[in-house]
């Protein structure tokens, strides 16, 4: 007997299999009295405040101020920043060309000063930014290996709370939920910023 048959056989003997329709009906009866969102108003303010609570550096800029803000942040961190080739060119229009590398090879990431990406969804309640590694976000390694990560968050990407954010996401894509810079609670259970992921997280909220 294969291990699969043995394990499923044990399970079926304890909880006998039922028709899929009956299981679906039971599933639909699960109580879900919790809130779909905890805040109705001021979602963008809440998002900025909650992201900043993790000691990320958050700034709100108008669409016409974005390129200057990106250039300023990159200038403060000399070196080459990796960008995905699908990043809107307007975002980095004011940054010197030599400070940018489009779609860098994974082997080169450790030598970069940082990375600039967009995002798929923001979650205001928890101060979370979700990457789905689409064209404006690049490979998962791009926003992981360099020590500095600048994320541009368009206002319409920000969801009020976790349930709404998950509805907007496609689980078939690889997803990375980022809540502040890399941190650990492993020394005396206190949060300390900075272990393996980017130790500096900069966020520009465009509204």
């Amino acid at each position: 007997m294969t291990a699969r048959d043995a394990v499923l056989g044990r399970i079926d003997a304890i909880v006998p299999p039922r028709a899929a329709a009956d299981i679906a009906a039971d599933y639909a009866r699960i109580d879900r009295e919790y809130l779909r969102r905890h805040h109705d108003d001021g979602v963008l303010d809440l998002f900025a405040e909650r992201v900043a609570d993790y000691r990320a550096d958050v700034r709100r800029v108008g669409p016409d101020e974005l390129a200057a803000a990106v250039a300023e942040i990159l200038a403060a961190r000399p070196g080459v920043h990796g960008v995905p080739s699908g990043l809107p060119a307007a975002w980095t229009a004011l940054a010197p060309a030599e400070s940018l590398a489009a779609d860098p090879a994974v082997a080169d990431l450790d030598g970069l000063a940082g990375a600039v990406t967009g995002c798929a969804v923001g979650i205001a309640e928890t101060g979370t930014i979700v990457l789905d590694h689409g064209p404006d976000q690049g490979l998962r390694a791009l926003s992981l290996v360099p020590d500095h990560h600048l994320i541009v968050v368009a206002a319409d990407r920000v969801a009020a709370d976790v349930p709404e954010a998950l509805e907007r996401l496609d689980p078939a894509r690889p997803l990375t939920f980022v809540s502040g810079p890399s941190a650990t609670s492993d020394i005396e259970l206190s949060r300390v910023e900075g272990v393996h992921g980017p130790r500096t997280l900069k966020v520009l909220v465009v509204a």
Binding site: I11, I30, V162, L166, R173, P174, D186
Partner: protein, 486 residues
């Protein structure tokens, strides 16, 4: 309905592990350990309460979490088959393991097939449970733990003592000393500032991450209808392991499956606030099979039984399978806070360990038979549990099982037989009570029982028998009608 006999489970009991009371007595005498534990658990308790109080609907989230998990357990075969189908369709390979030895064999063979002799690991309770690192070592494969606390445990040749923070028993000065001694690349002049210690770990592991070809992880959740695996973490070591290597092997207990993507809206709110008292943990990664051009090109999922079906067969005990490994119950437990995690003799310490280990491993060993008694039944663990596991209820249930099935002291058996013989006859009972009253003076003088009976009085005062039994008093005074000094 016929229930098959429980699977032989092979979660290793730590070698020569004494009963909980013996191990706990030693731990309680260690003042440094108690100070470290008290500091850490007190800090996190307060912060968890704050993070939970922030959500008005916490009790509704908790109820939904409980119901989703119960629904999965009631239809476990269906959801595991669905998960297998969807993971396979997305390019992953699913393996099944009846027990620890089989899971270790599967992982070892998968690593061997890559030709690699080193793997990087994300902290995972399932791989702790099956003793994977030791099994890999026997096959000359080195497993590098990459979670900071696991690294501390591994470098110190130590054992984990907490589900979330395996090195909770070590303070920053201990960790500095350990790093300076065991990390060849530790910076000179390393201080005990936690940020410095984190930096040392970052440097130590960076080259290893970039060179790693094979990673081993666990999983917090697996979504059946999409075939998506989810790992929550803090440091970024998880992201490194899940994305940089070519081959990813994830080992997951069969109870970790959830029906639908939507169910994560409950668990992504319950878990971070319960475990690290954060609105959200720094990083959560999810992946579905393999993504061409991004991340591992081979993904293997090992579904582990190892005593879980035996637990599922127990109507009271099966609620332990709802556990999402947050460790809130450890942090509030007065017994854990004083005894520490090692006394539980298992990768699962604290209240949840006291109900999981004896169910997964059975109550055959002294430590497992003693674990259901490692509690004052105060109920704090139940109050904080995000999926409402009634731990005290399961403890009481397992106490009965431990008494029926567990190893018993021959003296206890003899004493119980003698008590039965005495209680069956009023005359014999009266005689025994007179004898006890006559022994009053001796009991007052000694307070400790001699010989093997000392086990009872090591942690209790010997009660002084009354001068006169209730029965004798009733007969003498006519039920109190002629009360006078005896």
């Amino acid at each position: 309905m016929t229930v098959p006999p429980p699977a032989p489970s092979a979660m290793p009991t730590y070698l020569g592990m004494p009963r909980f009371p013996d191990a706990a007595a030693r731990a309680v005498a260690d003042e440094g350990l108690r100070r470290n534990l008290a500091h850490a658990t007190t800090t996190i308790r307060g912060r968890r309460a704050g993070a939970v109080a922030e959500l008005d609907d916490w009790s509704a989230l908790r109820e939904s979490g409980k119901q989703i998990k119960d629904h999965v357990l009631a239809n476990l075969g269906h959801y595991l088959r669905l998960l297998e189908e969807r993971v396979t369709a997305a390019g992953g390979t699913v393996h099944w393991a009846r027990d620890a030895a089989e899971a270790n064999r599967i992982v070892t063979d998968l690593v061997r097939a890559t030709g690699e002799t080193e793997v990087v690991k994300v902290k995972s309770m399932a791989t702790q449970e099956i003793g994977l690192n030791e099994a890999l070592a026997e096959a000359d494969i080195t497993a590098h733990e990459t979670d900071l606390a696991e690294l501390i445990v591994q470098l110190g040749d130590d054992r984990p003592s907490h589900i979330l923070v395996p090195a909770i028993h070590r303070n920053r000065a201990d960790i500095r000393e350990l790093f300076a001694r065991t990390m060849p690349d530790a910076p000179p002049g390393l201080t005990d500032d936690p940020a410095d210690l984190a930096e040392a770990a970052r440097r130590h592991l960076r080259a290893r991450f970039l060179a790693a070809k094979v990673a081993v992880s666990g999983a917090n959740f697996a979504v059946a209808d999409t075939g998506t695996l989810v790992v929550l973490e803090s440091e970024g070591n998880g992201r490194m392991c899940l994305t940089l290597p070519e081959t990813l092997i994830s080992v997951m207990g069969i109870e970790k499956v959830v029906p639908s993507w939507r169910d994560l809206e409950v668990f992504l709110q319950l878990l971070p606030r319960s475990s690290t008292a954060e609105r959200m943990n720094p990083y959560t990664s999810s992946w579905t099979g393999v993504t061409p051009g991004d991340g591992p090109s081979a993904f293997h999922l090992v579904l582990l039984d190892n005593g879980r079906t035996a637990t599922l067969a127990d109507d009271v005990g099966k609620q332990a399978l709802r556990c999402i490994r947050c460790s809130a119950c450890l942090n509030v437990c007065p017994v854990y806070q004083r005894a520490g995690g090692h006394a539980y003799g298992s990768p699962y310490p604290g209240p949840i360990g006291a109900i999981l280990s004896p169910q997964i491993r059975g109550v055959g060993s002294p430590v497992d038979a003693s674990l259901p008694f490692a509690s004052s039944l105060c109920g704090a663990c139940y109050d904080v549990c995000p999926v409402a596991i009634d731990i005290p209820e399961v403890l009481v249930h397992l106490r009965a099982r431990a008494v029926e099935e567990g190893p018993r002291h021959p003296l206890e058996r003899a004493a119980m037989a003698a008590a039965g013989w005495t209680l069956r006859s009023p005359a014999r009972l009266a005689l025994a009570q007179r004898a006890a009253s006559a022994g009053r003076g001796a009991a007052r003088r000694f307070r400790r029982l001699p010989g093997p009976l000392h086990a009872w009085t090591d942690t209790r005062d010997l009660p002084v028998p009354p001068r006169e039994s209730f029965r004798a008093w009733w007969r003498r005074t006519g039920g109190g009608r002629t009360e006078e000094e005896a």
